[in-house]
Structures are given as C-alpha cells and as structure tokens.
C-alpha cells in the first residue's frame, strides 16, 4: 500500500478496523523508521552522517520538488535555491566564523527567521511561475536559481562571495550540542520523518487532492470552483517549508555553505535525485537521494580502483540517470511497482 499510485492511496473516508489497518498499511514505513532509529547502535559516525544523514537531508529537499512535480505537475528547479537561501540566512543571522558578517542571533530567532525568508522566496518564485506550464516553469525557476547562484558568488558583504562560510559553530540548545554526530542524526531523522509523513498526509487532504486535480486538469479545476493559481502558489509555500528546513540541516551537517551548495550543478543533481527515485510517491525522493549519496561517496574510489579519473563520478551519475529514465520514466518506484504488479499476476496465475 505504501507504494501505491498517488491518486489511489486510499479512498477518502473508508472505515474498517482503523488501528490494525493502519499498521498493515504502514508496515514497511514503520519497519524502515524503526531501523533508522536503531541504526546508531550498529554503525559508525561516518555512515550516520555521510551516508544516512546526507540521504535524509537531500531527500527532504528532493521531497519538496517531488511534492510540486509529482502532485502538482510543476517541475520547480528553485527548491535547492530555497534550501540554500535558508542555509545562508541561518549562517548570516546566526553564527559563523566571520564576525564581520554574521549577526550571532540566538538559534531560536535565527532558525525561524531563516525559514521565513526562504519560504517567502519560495512562495514568490511560485507566484512568478504559477501561471506557466511545463517547459516555461522549468525556465523561470532555473533563471531564479542561476540568479541566486551568481548573487552568492559575486556578493561579498552578505554572502562572502566565492568563499562562503566555513566552520559554522554548533547550535546548542536544550543543553545538547546538535552538531555532534548522534544528536544531529536524530534531529535530521526527526525532521525528515516529519516532512515525509506530512507530505503523505497532505496528499490525501483536500489541499493535496486538489493539487493533483490542478496537475490533471487545471481548466476543469477552475470550472468546479478552485482558484488554480492560488492553489499552486500555496503548494510552492508548503514545499518551501520542507526545503528550508532541509537547507538549515544541510549547513549543520556540512559545516559550511558556499555558492556551490545551491549552484546550477546542485540544482540539476536535485532534479536527478527526484526523477531517479520516482515522482510517484514521497519515498522516491529518499531512494533517489540514497542512490546519489552512495554513488558520490563510493564511485570515486571505485573509479580510481579500476584506473579511471575519480572526478568522473558525475559521469556515472549522468549515465545512471540516463539508464533509469530510459528504462523506467517513473524512476525506481516505477520499477518497484511494475515488479509488484508482475509478481501479483504470476501469483494469481499459479493459484488458478
């Protein structure tokens, strides 16, 4: 059930033995969640931060793209920029190793403000592109993304230009240093789990079903009483909240932020993550991020081991993208669904 088609996840308001049904429906998700909660007991800090941590954070930002593209049919290339703006904002408003720029406001002021700024930007980007469709949405959001990239690259008074910010001090609250491996891991896991659950829940709430309506047929949506433009802008705002939180976590995880964090390459990578994972279900964003992080982490060594230039790992990612999109336009999720369907038919075949 967890991987069913976006539109049929569960008919609205179907009753039954609610609790047991809920458990059987969500068994794979719950199992995965439990595994992730227990993971620190079984693994190293490297795996926690560099593999799982990165997967969850990039997955969150890709999730914001999945929400817009999968449910709303809007391929927004500005989601990495929203995350980047939140990351820069928390660094400038909060703490960094550059007292000439950073304001050193406490985290509980800086973090909400950073989210607010990024969401305002993401919503504005939505307002600019909500009346466009398809390739034009991609072009407008890509233009915004590259404008932000060049701004961060060339502005030194706020963004510290090419250098960006390094060695960002740890946020300390509730007496915990949230940059040490274990607390950071659980913070990320909590935020990622919450975003994932929120997207799944909202996809079957009136707002989410209506968003899928605007994807399938905007003209009919207008004719049955929906303000399609307003609905799309609201979707951008919702997605921006997730991307912004992901952007802040990214800075804490990465301990630095620079123009490349939300550069053109990162923007494209995020699109690749979302598409490779699959836009049909929120889990696709995390699957795509996992594949990407594995490739990025190990492809380099693997390439060097077989005597190739390690910097070619981008080529491998590109090739992987090509292969997946060629064989399964709906990503890994599409492969998985088709495999399930085939298994189901063959099972039905033998039982008859």
């Amino acid at each position: 059930m967890a991987l069913s088609e976006t539109g049929t996840a569960r008919p609205i308001g179907v009753g039954g033995d609610a609790l047991s049904r809920w458990f059987s429906d969500h068994a794979p998700t719950l199992l995965l969640g439990l595994l992730l909660v227990l993971l620190p007991a079984a693994t190293t800090d490297f795996v926690l931060d560099q593999i799982v941590g990165w997967t969850l954070v990039l997955g969150m930002i890709a999730l914001s793209l999945m929400f817009l593209a999968g449910y709303g049919g809007m391929v927004s290339l500005v989601q990495m920029t929203v995350a980047g703006l939140a990351g820069y904002s928390i660094t400038v408003l909060g703490a960094s190793s550059l007292p000439s720029i950073s304001l050193f406001w406490p985290w509980w002021v800086a973090a909400p403000l950073a989210i607010l700024i990024a969401v305002a930007f993401g919503t504005l980007a939505g307002a600019l592109s909500a009346r466009t469709e398809g390739i034009y949405t991609i072009m407008i959001t890509l233009a915004l993304a590259s404008a932000f990239f060049y701004l961060t690259l060339q502005n030194w008074s706020i963004f510290n230009g090419f250098n960006g910010f390094t060695s960002i001090p740890a946020p300390i609250f509730l007496g915990v240093n949230w940059k040490s491996a274990l607390p950071l891991y659980y913070l990320i896991l909590f935020c990622a789990g919450l975003s994932y659950t929120a997207v799944l829940y909202v996809s079957r709430a009136p707002f989410g079903i209506a968003l899928q309506g605007t994807r399938d047929n905007p003209r009919r949506m207008e004719a049955i009483g929906f303000n399609v433009t307003a609905h799309r802008i609201a979707a951008y705002a919702f997605a921006a909240v997730i991307a912004a939180i992901g952007g802040i976590l990214l800075v804490w995880l990465n301990n630095q932020i620079s123009p490349g964090t939300a550069g053109i390459q990162a923007t494209i990578d995020l699109l690749v993550i979302a598409v490779v994972g699959g836009l049909g279900h929120p889990i696709g964003a995390f699957i795509g991020a996992f594949i990407y992080v594995l490739l990025r982490t190990f492809a380099l060594d693997a390439l060097v081991a077989v005597g190739l230039d390690g910097r070619r790992f981008q080529t491998i990612i590109g090739l992987g993208f090509l292969i997946i999109v060629l064989f399964s336009p709906d990503g890994v999720i599409g492969l998985w669904r088709r495999w399930l369907a085939r298994a189901a038919t063959s099972r039905r075949g033998t039982s008859r």
Binding site: G7, P11, A205, A210
Partner: protein, 274 residues
C-alpha cells in the same frame, strides 16, 4: 427586499415600469448576455449575441457544428471571456470574473469533450467537485468518512451509476462512464444554473434515458442550457429553444414551434444533419 422597496420612486408609477427596470438591470434573469461577441483571430465565433434565460428555465441551444454553441457556453462560464459585450449571472455582471468565481456563485457546466482528472479515482473526481463548491478548499486536514460531504459524493456517484467503479482511476473508465462522470461533476454543490454541452454524446440508449430522467427530475429552481444534437433528448427536456447559425441567434421559441418552423426544418431537421 425592504431596501429595494424603499428605493422605489414615490409617485404612483405603474408596476410595469418597475418590472421593466428590473428587466433592464438584468436582475430578473439567471443568464443575461448583451451584445456578446467572441473573436478567434479574424474568425467571429460569436457575433452580438443577446440572450436572456429566466431562473429555472430550461433551454436548448441548437445549431450545426461550428455554429458557436460551445463558444457561447465558454463566454458564460469565463473559460474564454467574450471580446465584447456583458454577461450577467442572476443580475451580477460577471463578464470579467474568473471561472471559479462564477462557479462559487452557483454556475456549473459539463464539457463536450470530457475534461476529467484522469489520474484520480472517480470518488476523488466527484469529491473535488463537491469541495470546490464548498469551503475548505485549502484544508490540510483529511476528510473523514463521516463528514457530510462524503454523503454528497456517494449520492452523486449513485445517481450516475458509477458505484461499481468508484475507486477506479478515471483514466481506466469506458468512454460512456466518463460521460456519466462528466454529468455528476456539474451537479455537485448547490447549482443554480447548469450548462450542458452535448451531454448525451457517447451515451448508450439506456444511459440517454437516465440522462433525460436526471434532467427532468432536477429541482425546479435549477435552470439549464443544453446543447444537444439528439432532438429526442433535447426537445423532451426543455421549454424553450434557441437556434444558432454562424455565431448568431436566428430563432427562438417553444420546442413545438421550432420543430414546425419551415426555415428550421429546411436548415437542420430536414437536412442531412447527423
């Protein structure tokens, strides 16, 4: 009403003048078009259409392909606003309002070529139509089975006999079933006036019978305009007929009079019209 009375002139003007004024304001009509034209480039799909339909009135719009019937509906709903003229809905000038605002005022429509949500289930399609006509369109809280709106959704699905496929994706439905759903979407909420664009096209004879039954059973305060090539359907469910040709209205009258009209017979009923 009290306000309206206070505004009446003091002198003992005859009632007919007030009635005339109400008519002049367009307040007495459900749909009122004045001088409506619609150009597509150089092509005048509608030229200077003036049309009034009373609340609760049931009207057929007939005419050959390309006569401008669908364009007329598009101008009323705002899908394509007119290039000239005004559109009033229950007295209110809605000429420049976006389609969703007109829908919220009680206007509904069906499409000649089904415009449905292909990747959503039948239930979700009908649910969206009900939600669009009510509050909570942006709600982030899921609708529960016990919520009143789900009863309306179930009732509409039953009305058009789609219970068996209620949880199937619309993209998987047969053509006739999609046409039935098209009708259900237009009946959601509390419609005051409905525009049907060839609703019987693609329906089986049985389903046509159902359609006629639905149309005749609609509460009397709900008026509609129906575009329909099938005279058996059209003339059974309306009290007045508007004939269109080349973007203009050329005849209006009762169904019998229209049927008997020699000019109409020659142009449409007698001619090899499909």
């Amino acid at each position: 009403m009290a306000g309206a009375r206070r505004n009446l002139p003091k002198g003992n003007k005859p009632l007919s003048t007030v009635a005339e004024r109400i008519a002049a304001a367009g307040a007495g009509n459900a749909i009122e078009l004045r001088g409506v034209s619609r150009l597509f480039g150089a092509l005048a799909a509608l030229s200077d259409i003036t049309l009034s339909v009373r609340p609760g009135e049931r009207r057929a719009v007939l005419g050959s392909n390309g006569a401008g019937k669908t364009t007329l509906l598009n101008c009323v709903t705002g899908d394509f606003p007119p290039t000239a003229g005004t559109v009033r809905f229950f007295g209110e000038d809605v000429t420049t309002l976006p389609p969703h605002e007109r829908t919220r005022r009680g206007l509904r429509r069906t499409y000649q070529i089904s415009l449905l949500f292909q990747r959503l289930s039948v239930r979700d399609n009908v649910y969206l139509a009900c939600r669009g006509a009510s509050r909570g369109r942006f709600s982030l809280i899921r609708t529960r089975a016990s919520d009143a709106i789900m009863q309306s959704v179930a009732d509409l699905i039953t009305l058009v006999h789609l219970e068996q496929v209620a949880d199937r994706l619309v993209g998987e439905l047969a053509h006739g079933q999609q046409r039935q759903l098209e009708i259900a979407l237009a009946l959601a909420g509390a419609p005051r006036f409905i525009l049907f664009d060839e609703p019987a096209a693609g329906l089986s004879p049985n389903e046509r019978g159902d359609l006629v039954a639905i149309l005749t059973a609609l509460p009397p305060h709900i008026g509609y305009i129906i575009i329909e090539h099938d005279m058996d359907v059209a003339l059974r469910v309306v009290e007045s007929v508007t004939m269109m040709h080349n973007g203009r209205i050329f005849k209006e009258g009762a169904p019998r009079a229209i049927e008997a009209d020699p000019e109409v017979q020659q142009l449409y009923l007698g001619g090899g019209h499909g």
